[in-house]
Symmetry: C2
């Protein structure tokens, strides 16, 4: 407490200094500029996308103004009345500010001023929020995070009416509301403000943006570089179990760019949180670009903020929905307001990439600022080009050396494979090393479960993370990867997981008909190496692309390995027998196993075990090379779920007892079924056999026999993966010579 | 056998006679006419919808011709190779015939001729199909039904090349192929041909259409009026358990119109089979209209065939998918080829209703005949109007006096309620008396399970009905209705069910803001009366419409009543406690109960038990007036399902032990949730309380308290439901006077 106090005193002193040397600055200056506003006003009525957005926003704000102003005493969790009301207030104030600038109608300025003074009157004596769950309770909201949201938006509204307010009004607001507000979410909550985390990004942006409006350099410095002496102990944790402080941690906005973003623009928490953080990242960057162009924020770390928009747009399915890696709520997409911001700013400040315009067209709305105008003008002028999503490999880690995420795509997103071999992903990370998911257009075929939470639905645990997020969603068994001895990777411990990361073995996505990615994980289970290679290939022009999945496991002891596929769809057939149960038991007791019902169990009857299902009118077959002693399980999520927080989704799983082994599978879309024509086409697998024909420290080789007799071999170099490295290997008396990390050929 | 033989001899003799008095008749004459073809050829290139269809059909047929002709020896069930090949053959032949007529390109005629002669060569010595499951095995297919499909389509192809063939060729085809084919599916299979059933409709049309082409009056008579002496025993059954012959049964095409269609055009088997039967009904009718206009087939039974198209289009959700009443496969819709036929023919022969044109536009294709041309011309000329779906009540039974199906709709199909109080529906009927389902646009909210079958997917039981269709899908517990003592309506016996039907108590759908339908069932359980009243009402302009459901049960003994709601979506909250289980047991042993897992069980804690769920971004709450001893169960479909034939869908169920009782519920959509904005709006129920305040033989009254305090009362007349009948009733010292079968008013 005494340290905090000292910081406050010290910073107040600094603030005093900065007041003395106040620059004269135009307003608005954050997302709107005076010249920008003039340009917008001149074009009004001639820019369909901008005009339509303006009309929509005006209708929304007018309706809200008609309801009157209400600033209730804070009480609820997200989803609850007071939470949603304060959230609505800041969203509407920001829009009203923009409307005031563009339409020059004082109604909007009056509305903002009156609301701000209601907040000013309330804030002085406001205690911390009564809900105690957060590690950093806010005042208006249950967590500082949402208070920061409020300030990021409200500072924009204040910026828009700054000149319109009297000096006295400004002084009163700044003294009683904005300054204490900024201090509360920073110096009084360093455990929130002074981290590398999406929470802190919001906090940094909030403090920085109000600092920019108030021309308070101390706040700006604090935002950019963090608190210098926060008194936080190394190893402190938040209420989600995330680490607050590591040794030697840099903090502040720039550190929040430097660290969680890889040089490719991948954000280590995953796309769902990247989307969430995108708004403060970009809107504060835009404001800095306008007020402090000397900082060259968009060039920071080789332009990573703009690259991150491209990365994020590439982490979506064909419908624009983000892959739910780590804690991600399904359904979130590039239609969200944060992505409208991201796309418009990336277009305007990032070289006017015409492919971004097609996303803006789909979003059917723009920012009501200089960047939005630029987008709307370009769309009007027919400059838009389709956004082309190709296969992509995104490194993780601030230096790009902590694994990554690979996305393989074929046939115009008819098949998309997402392969995660990244770092832990901070507190929102899952124990899902080398896991994958698969899509057909916007449709999940092999799913990643996502999170266990109903964001903002108050009835479901206050809209917060549910306990099943930890007991199920984060656990390894909830993912399509190997689980050893029914425990989770790193024993499900964040401290261990965050010390390690998987790493790329090799990748070649240069040929659409044969794309390959290979990565390894050496620490998920002590003494065990996992090496997974995924191939997306087209066996013939006439057929759909298929996936070849080779998971090599090497251990210093015998283990039980579980290898699940969380397929979506209707079971069509298997080439093995199984028995279902008249009473259902759970599959295990912990590490997520307690949430799985065992629906059926079978045994292989041939070298390859095959299971077909129908998903959204397409047939899929998973063919796996199995041993006679393997077990084939059908599971169902939902056991030990006393409040129906989990979806009752299906799983298919190979269970094997072994020391070193290879799980080799083909995941194959084929044919289709129409519920309207009732035609069933190409409903059977094209895989006749699948065998691991070679496996040692250096090489793993798979033989695939297609129906009709075609036979192919894939050889993977487990080491020595240089592109120019020459290999030769004899398998069953046949000599293979090749260059580079893999070999694929017809052998019959 | 000897009877059949005699019939064949006798009919051959008749055939001989009719050959002597052959009329000269133009060809084509079934779906195309010479003058029609001329008109089509004149308009080619100027009718976008027709031209586009022609182009698509030409491409399809050309591709098939390029593959060459193959007529494999029949072997497989539906979904299997030989089945699908022969099916494809007849579909393509029909299209090739049309192309020959329109394009005058002999390639198509040659293709048809060559294929027909391959069939001719094969048919002579073809034994019955090797698969033995059907009660009426075909030759090309496993059942006569599919052989009849073949002839319905092939006769059109033959019609198109009739004049182009030599007399000798025609004679050979008719003698060796068409005549024996027609005899095989009729006189040699009277148990198939001589019924009232969709199977027979296909058989009748097949025989009739080839008869029209061949100018064989005997075949035409046989088609229209059936076989006079078929030797079928009363009470015979087919392999689906359907009754083949009732006492005094009329047969033939006209009987198949007269009996299963109600005067409103509802087809007693339900919309899925009506769709299937629509093609032979309408295409044969069109052919009769062209060749035998004297029959005035479209005026038969007051124009019921044309009315039936309107009925069928009204039995769809907002996406055009048919309600899966009885045996119906979900996903089938008015986009099917049968409905293209139905819509075009109904337009052309049924008074040029411009609303049908908007369906044709959605179908994005037309018949390549006179009717299709008329539709395409009208669409081109901008005559299309939206098809307006309103609330509708369709009677069942040939006389319209065997109950019916009511569809209540509000807010432009945002809420649709389907209430089934019909007759058994022949062999495809379910034991689902007074059951209902509910939709929001094209989205199921409270579902009807539909059938347990994967039509034409060979791997799933040959694409045929699965045993779970009988053990689950047909049983009462699979439906949203009352189940007494864990048995099914009529004990699940077709013989009993087909003797009875539910009946309308009253209906008033004249006001969109308050629609009501009430029906009763007296025979589902001996000694028990069921009377269900469903209301769709709008409580305020601002809110979504809601459903009030009042199921009254009167019995001569104490029973256990189960009252399920098969909701789709995620459990959000309940106002009662429940416990889930760590081991799951089935709910019962028979009548479908063996297929339900018991997931959780609870007890009411207040007068009204409330359960909320989220479905497709809309919240729903089911509020039910409960007693302290009621049990509230959550169930999951899928137990005792050894081949994963059933969907793992959820149920919520009230279980009550009582003699006479009322299940009164409000099913209420409210608010919504967006996965993109993450706003949760109006997530809580508006129902504060719900009570049955009066219930006797004459009246049942429900009191509803809305949050905020509004209180309303609904009084239902259980008898004396005349529109002008005056009622007065005292409830809790309050006097109610009203006229007509129901009363609804504000009481506070």
């Amino acid at each position: 407490m005494s340290i905090k106090h000292n910081i406050v005193l010290f910073l107040s002193f600094l603030g005093f200094i900065s007041c003395l040397e106040v620059r004269s600055q135009e307003h608005p200056s954050l997302i709107l500029t005076q010249s920008g506003v003039e340009k917008i006003r001149k074009e009004l009525g001639n820019v369909p996308l901008f005009d339509a957005t303006l009309k929509k926003v005006k209708a929304e704000v007018d309706a809200e103004i008609a309801l009157g102003i209400e600033t209730p005493i804070p009480k609820d969790f997200s989803g609850g009345y007071t939470h949603e009301k304060h959230k609505r207030n800041f969203l509407i104030m920001q829009k009203a500010g923009v409307l005031f600038q563009i339409l020059k109608d004082e109604t909007y300025a009056v509305y903002i001023r009156n609301m701000l003074f209601q907040y000013e009157a309330m804030y002085k004596d406001l205690p911390v929020h009564p809900q105690t769950r957060s590690y950093a309770r806010g005042k208006l909201f249950w967590q500082c995070l949402n208070d920061s949201n409020w300030l990021v938006y409200t500072s924009q509204a204040y910026d828009c009416i700054y000149d319109w307010l009297s000096k006295k009004e400004r002084k009163k607001l700044e003294k009683n509301l904005f300054k204490p507000f900024a201090d509360f979410i920073s110096v009084e909550n360093p455990q929130f403000f002074n981290r590398v985390h999406n929470h802190s990004t919001w906090g940094n942006a909030a403090v920085g943006m109000i600092g920019l409006v108030m021309q308070d350099d101390e706040l700006i410095e604090r935002a950019l570089y963090g608190l210098q002496d926060d008194g936080l102990p190394v190893g402190a944790k938040d209420n989600d179990g995330g680490l607050i402080r590591e040794e030697g941690q840099q903090t502040g906005f720039l550190a929040n760019i430097d660290e969680p973003f890889s040089p490719d623009g991948y954000y280590t928490e995953g796309p769902y949180y990247q989307r969430y953080a995108m708004y403060p990242f970009l809107v504060f960057a835009e404001a800095l670009q306008n007020v402090r162009p000397d900082l060259k924020i968009f060039e920071h770390k080789k332009g990573v903020l703009l690259k991150s928009v491209n990365a994020l747009l590439n982490l979506t399915d064909a419908d624009g929905k983000f892959f739910p890696l780590n804690d991600g709520q399904k359904g979130m997409s590039y239609y969200s307001r944060e992505l409208v911001t991201a796309v418009d700013i990336a277009y305007y400040y990032g070289g006017l990439n015409p492919q971004l315009l097609s996303i803006a067209e789909k979003q059917n709305g723009v920012l009501l600022d200089d960047s939005g105008l630029a987008v709307a003008l370009a769309v009007r002028d027919g400059k838009s080009k389709p956004f082309e999503k190709k296969s992509i490999n995104l490194t993780d880690g601030s230096d790009g050396k902590q694994g990554g995420v690979g996305v393989l795509r074929a046939d115009n997103e008819e098949l998309t494979l997402v392969f995660k071999y990244a770092a832990q992903g901070l507190s929102h990370g899952h124990y899902d090393k080398l896991s994958f998911s698969m899509y057909n257009q916007g449709n999940e075929v092999i799913q990643d479960y996502g999170l266990a939470r109903f964001v903002n639905i108050e009835q479901k645990g206050g809209g917060n993370y549910l306990k099943e997020n930890k007991t199920w969603a984060k656990q390894s068994i909830a993912h399509n990867t190997v689980i050893q001895n029914e425990s989770s990777h790193y024993n499900g411990k964040y401290e261990i997981g965050s010390k390690h990361h998987s790493s790329l073995n090799f990748i070649d996505i240069s040929k659409e008909d044969f794309q390959i990615i290979s990565a390894k994980e050496e620490n998920a289970y002590a003494g065990t190496l996992l090496l997974r290679t995924l191939v997306m290939l087209k066996n013939s022009k006439a057929q759909k692309p298929l996936v070849l999945d080779v998971m090599k496991v090497v251990s210093n002891q015998k283990n039980q390995y579980d290898f699940p596929f969380y397929f979506k769809g209707q079971v069509i057939e298997t080439n093995f027998d199984y028995t279902t149960y008249n009473t259902m038991q759970t599959l295990g007791e912990k590490y997520g196993y307690q949430h799985l019902w065992l629906e059926a169990k079978g045994k292989p009857v041939s070298e390859v075990s095959q299971f077909s299902f129908l998903n959204n009118e397409v047939f899929y077959t998973i063919s796996t090379a199995t041993n006679a002693n393997d077990e084939l399980l059908f599971t169902r999520i939902g056991a030990n779920d006393p409040e129906f927080n989990l979806r009752r989704d299906a799983g298919y799983m190979i269970r094997r007892n072994a020391q070193n082994t290879v799980f080799a599978s083909v995941i194959e879309p084929h044919g289709g079924y129409s519920h309207v024509s009732e035609f069933s086409v190409d409903a059977k697998t094209h895989i006749q056999n699948l065998k691991v024909i070679y496996d040692d420290e250096d090489y793993t080789a798979i033989n695939i026999v297609f129906t009709g007799g075609d036979e192919k071999v894939l050889i993977i170099a487990n080491k020595n993966t240089g592109k120019l490295k020459e290999h030769n290997l004899i398998i069953n008396d046949k000599v293979f010579n090749w260059k580079g990390p893999y070999h694929y050929s017809i052998i019959k």
